[in-house]
């Protein structure tokens, strides 16, 4: 018997494991895993939301005629029409393009809100604001949208006929000073294809009246 042999066997065992781990195959594997993790981390970085993305609204998509629940409020697009002119109580406004009149209903879930003026998204993702030629007091934006009480009204766009195919209307809350991420909005497809848009644009109403009777 000698001193070397009396060492506890744990030490040789660990040494054995070390050499096993450091062998060529597992070192390559570790390197590959490391590269994978680094690549994953870089990949995740590209998903980081920019300030614009972060403050972008959360869009709930629906079809015409359906109740689209956006959490805080629910919107239903009842119908739409096109006209060459709009008659208000004081004057008649004519256009070389088309007035698109969108009839919608809304209610909220917890609190009273006003809806903001909607945006028309075209098939190629261009945006049209609602027209300011019609007083916003005549639109649905003027009505209180309250829990469990449906209110109906119209919104007005002034757009060329060429943007009607594939157009969608986006309803949201009015802009606020407080920047809030993920505000809800509702996007409703008008369901117009090329054929339907041409038919609709070919027969506009001459005058659409918003005078209250």
């Amino acid at each position: 018997m000698t001193a070397t042999e009396e060492r506890p066997p744990a030490v040789p065992a660990r040494r054995g494991r070390r050499t096993g781990r450091g062998s060529g195959g597992s070192r390559l594997l570790n390197g590959a895993i490391g590269l994978l993790l680094v690549g994953g981390a870089i990949g995740l970085q590209t998903l980081y939301l920019s300030e614009n993305d972060y403050t972008a609204p959360l869009t709930y998509v629906g079809d015409k005629g359906a109740n689209v629940d956006a959490g805080r409020f629910t919107v239903r697009l009842n119908s739409f029409a096109v006209a060459k002119a709009i008659q208000s109580s004081s004057k008649t406004m004519a256009t070389d393009n088309l007035f698109l009149i969108v009839n919608a209903s809304a209610k909220s879930s917890l609190k009273p809100y006003h809806l903001g003026q909607p945006v028309l998204l075209t098939g190629d993702d261009r945006r049209f604001a609602a027209t300011d030629r019609v007083d916003s007091g005549s639109t649905l934006a003027a009505a209180w949208v309250q829990p469990d009480i449906w209110v109906s009204g119209a919104f007005f766009f002034e757009v060329p006929a060429s943007v009607l195919p594939g157009a969608r209307v986006v309803f949201g809350l009015p802009p606020s000073a407080l920047v809030e991420p993920y505000r809800p909005e509702v996007e409703i497809d008008l369901g117009l294809d090329e054929e339907g848009a041409r038919k609709l644009a070919a027969q506009p109403q001459d005058v659409y009246s918003i005078v209250k009777k």
């Binding site: 001193a3 917890l110 829990p147």
Partner: protein
């Protein structure tokens, strides 16, 4: 060329290997020790038995032998312990990630609370009683009323008439002429409906102490909650004698009485 030139490897016989120019190697002269006599080191004079050490280490005999290590049981739990360690690391990573997300979310929520909500001290007022805030007594009733002709709502909507009576009891509050804010009806589930105030004829500089001023309003609520909705509002602390030119100065705003009191009239 001589014939010997190609033969690199055989020693040259005609030359000494060390070049011949060096003095012969002799041990350095030692004054204190006489040169040791030669001793055979290798191979060992007495051959060791097989398995013995060739190192000249003395064998330690008189210390206690180390405690016996359980050699066999030590080997199997090693993978289990490693697995437990990996699990611990994974759990730690998950917990840390959750903590980071939760902290960020909570911070955002605190910011939202701070920005979006006002400090509120709720004062409950029993039916028929009056509630006092900032030296002004408030009374309010909510009563069903007939829907106006030509309204666009159906039978599922109840029309309510709101009647708020304000009486200044404290001389110092006579200049609080503004109408209350956040007038709303709330049902038991916490949903709220707005109240539209009708135009009221009110003085613009001082209210008379002890005189009752009436504010009337109209609200619509779903019929189902018409009997349970409760009126609440936040009395304004604006004073008519606040200099208008100072209204946007920081000191003026800081000196304003906070309007954190909210009156709620139970039914």
């Amino acid at each position: 060329m001589s014939a010997n030139e190609g033969d690199w490897f055989s020693p040259r016989k005609n030359r000494r290997r060390d070049g011949g120019s060096w003095p012969p190697l002799t041990p350095p002269p030692s004054r204190s020790h006489a040169p040791r006599p030669d001793q055979q080191v290798w191979p060992p004079v007495t051959r060791e038995e097989p398995g013995g050490s060739t190192q000249p280490l003395p064998k330690v005999r008189d210390t206690a032998p180390p405690p016996p290590v359980p050699a066999e049981p030590a080997a199997p739990p090693r993978p289990a312990r490693r697995r437990r360690r990996a699990l611990l690391v994974a759990a730690g990573a998950v917990v840390l990630a959750c903590a980071a997300i939760a902290t960020r979310t909570y911070d955002g929520y605190l910011f939202y609370e701070k920005v979006a909500t006002d400090e509120t001290r709720l004062i409950s007022v029993a039916p028929g009683q009056s509630g006092k805030a900032h030296g002004v007594e408030w009374k309010a009733t909510v009563a069903p009323t007939k829907p106006p002709a030509g309204n666009k709502h159906g039978a599922d909507v109840a029309w309510l008439k709101i009647d708020i009576r304000e009486k200044v009891v404290d001389q110092g509050s006579a200049t609080m002429i503004a109408e209350p804010g956040e007038i709303q009806l709330q049902d038991r589930a916490g949903r709220t409906w707005t109240v539209e105030l009708l135009d009221a004829d009110r003085p613009t500089d001082r209210l008379d102490v002890g005189k009752e001023y009436v504010l009337e309003g109209v609200a619509i609520v779903p019929v189902r909650v018409a009997d349970e909705v409760e009126l609440s509002f936040r009395p304004s602390t604006y004073r008519s004698d606040t200099p208008t030119e100072d209204l946007f100065k920081r000191d003026t705003v800081a000196a304003l009485e906070p309007n954190s009191e909210v009156l709620r009239f139970t039914r």
